[in-house]
């Protein structure tokens, strides 16, 4: 084979293999990049779905708690008052005018109070009431119900100029607050519930503190079946891009801090 011809053939082979290699590289890059991108998008989609799911669950849980509260309220207060009013009416004796007048006055009061309480209750029935009232009023409302249900001293402070967050996140914040307060009622044996809301430019911080008996946090990090309620709150906070911290000292009480960035996290959109 002449030398010149060999050179040409070598060039041909080298050129062809380089170009083919280039093509192979291109295709592999396409595969790699697209797969990574697709995975990313799928993960984001997944996150969005679980966020929506948690949102829905929170909504249901709030409703459930509201219904529980309402049935209790009807049974304990409104029902009592109406029964009393009925008793008054059925024991009215026209032959005893003094007594009669007092009984009418009492019954009127009782019925009036029942109507007032009923009206109050029906406000809480709307599912959008958190959004309608805003977080601050909703928390006040929640604390009012807590005080009604037992012997609790509540303190609520809001610092900074309040601003609305989006509906979804306010709902989740509210649900976390409810769950934390439920824990205090259930486990803390505390008389005091202190809630602090801080609106700053970057984030909204909500802290809920009790001065009850506190508890040991170590099982939270070890036993996955311990503290499902707390885990759930943590999970929800994460889904909306918020920080969730819990600290507790035995004998001194527990404190939960939720910090929600004003800028919505990119998982929700």
């Amino acid at each position: 084979m002449p030398k010149e011809s060999r050179e040409i053939i070598i060039t041909l082979i080298a050129g062809t293999s380089t170009l083919l290699l280039l093509g192979a590289l291109m295709i592999s890059f396409l595969f790699l990049y697209r797969n990574r991108h697709r995975k990313l998008l799928r993960e984001r989609e997944q996150l969005k779905l679980s966020y929506e799911r948690e949102l829905l669950k929170s909504q249901l849980e709030i409703q459930e708690q509201t219904f529980r509260h309402i049935s209790q309220e009807i049974h304990d207060n409104i029902g009592q008052m109406l029964s009393l009013a009925k008793l008054n009416l059925s024991t009215m004796d026209p032959s005893l005018p003094d007594n009669l007048e007092q009984k009418i006055i009492d019954s009127k009061k009782l019925v009036g109070q029942a109507i007032y309480d009923l009206r109050n209750l029906s406000h809480g029935l709307s599912t959008d009431y958190i959004a309608d009232m805003g977080l601050v009023r909703a928390i006040e409302h929640e604390l009012e119900m807590v005080r009604k249900s037992g012997n609790y001293e509540t303190l609520f402070e809001s610092e900074g100029k309040s601003y609305p967050l989006d509906k979804q996140r306010e709902l989740i914040i509210y649900r976390i607050l409810q769950e934390t307060v439920n824990n205090i009622i259930k486990h803390a044996a505390s008389q005091k519930i202190i809630i602090h809301l801080h609106y700053s430019q970057e984030e909204l911080t909500l802290s809920i503190t009790d001065n009850g008996k506190g508890f040991d946090l170590t099982p939270l990090n070890q036993d996955a079946s311990f503290g499902l309620g707390i885990r759930n709150m943590y999970n929800r906070a994460q889904l909306m891009g918020a920080g969730f911290k819990i600290s507790s000292t035995l004998g001194h009480g527990t404190s939960v801090v939720l910090s929600v960035p004003v800028e919505a996290a990119n998982t929700r959109t």
Binding site: I9, L12, I13, L30, F31
Partner: protein, 217 residues
């Protein structure tokens, strides 16, 4: 009975598969494939007949017509599958201008009896660009199904490799045309590329059929 090159069987297979999957190809950018493949198989057979039976030395003119039509056909497919209107227009312009350029080349530069390697290089480069554009659009739309299930991905891959592989030869054509060993080398590379090209087409047709099936269920 004369001996048929191995790759011709692949081309026939691709033609048959395109017929069998025609129901799936009908409403798509690939609807002309069976006709195109029939044309390819026919010219291969005519070419073989001319060389081995009629012992004609030069069948460049047949080759020139086929390659030109191939480029136009591929550009047509791309003009239908690319999304960006600018890319579409580019492919369509190519379809209109390319045959004229080939004609000018044959008339004034390389001559009718010669293989039109200059315009083939041009066409190949353009095919490579179209493939790149298609891949670029695939990158932009990552959710559009898995790559290996996208028919046009296979077609582009086949076209890309075929033209990348042929480019060196076409560029060196003037040096190689009187070199028997060089030509032999090239045709062994080229034959393998043809196998890849038509295999990709076959895969694409089957993908298209399963795509249509999964949609209709």
């Amino acid at each position: 009975m004369f001996h048929l090159a191995f790759f011709i069987y692949f081309e026939m297979a691709a033609f048959i598969v395109s017929l069998l999957t025609y129901r799936a190809l009908k409403g798509t950018a690939f609807r002309l494939f069976p006709f195109f493949l029939l044309f390819i198989v026919a010219t291969e057979l005519i070419g073989t007949y001319m060389t081995y039976i009629l012992r004609l030395r030069n069948n460049s003119w047949l080759f020139n017509i086929t390659t030109t039509l191939e480029y136009i056909f591929y550009a047509h497919i791309f003009s239908l599958t690319l999304r960006d209107p600018a890319f579409k227009t580019m492919a369509r312009r190519f379809m209109a201008i390319y045959p004229m350029v080939v004609l000018l080349n044959l008339l004034f530069v390389q001559g009718f009896t010669e293989f039109h390697s200059y315009t083939v290089v041009l066409g190949s480069l353009f095919m490579i660009i179209l493939c790149c554009l298609f891949f670029y659009e695939l990158l932009l739309n990552p959710l559009e199904g898995e790559l290996r299930k996208v028919p046009m991905f296979w077609i582009s891959t086949g076209i890309l490799f075929f033209h990348l592989g042929d480019l060196s030869f076409d560029l060196l054509f003037n040096l190689l045309k009187n070199d028997a060993t060089g030509k032999e080398f090239f045709s062994s590379i080229n034959n393998n590329l043809i196998l890849i090209l038509y295999s990709c087409f076959i895969i694409a047709f089957l993908c298209q059929r399963s795509l249509v099936k999964s949609l209709s269920h």
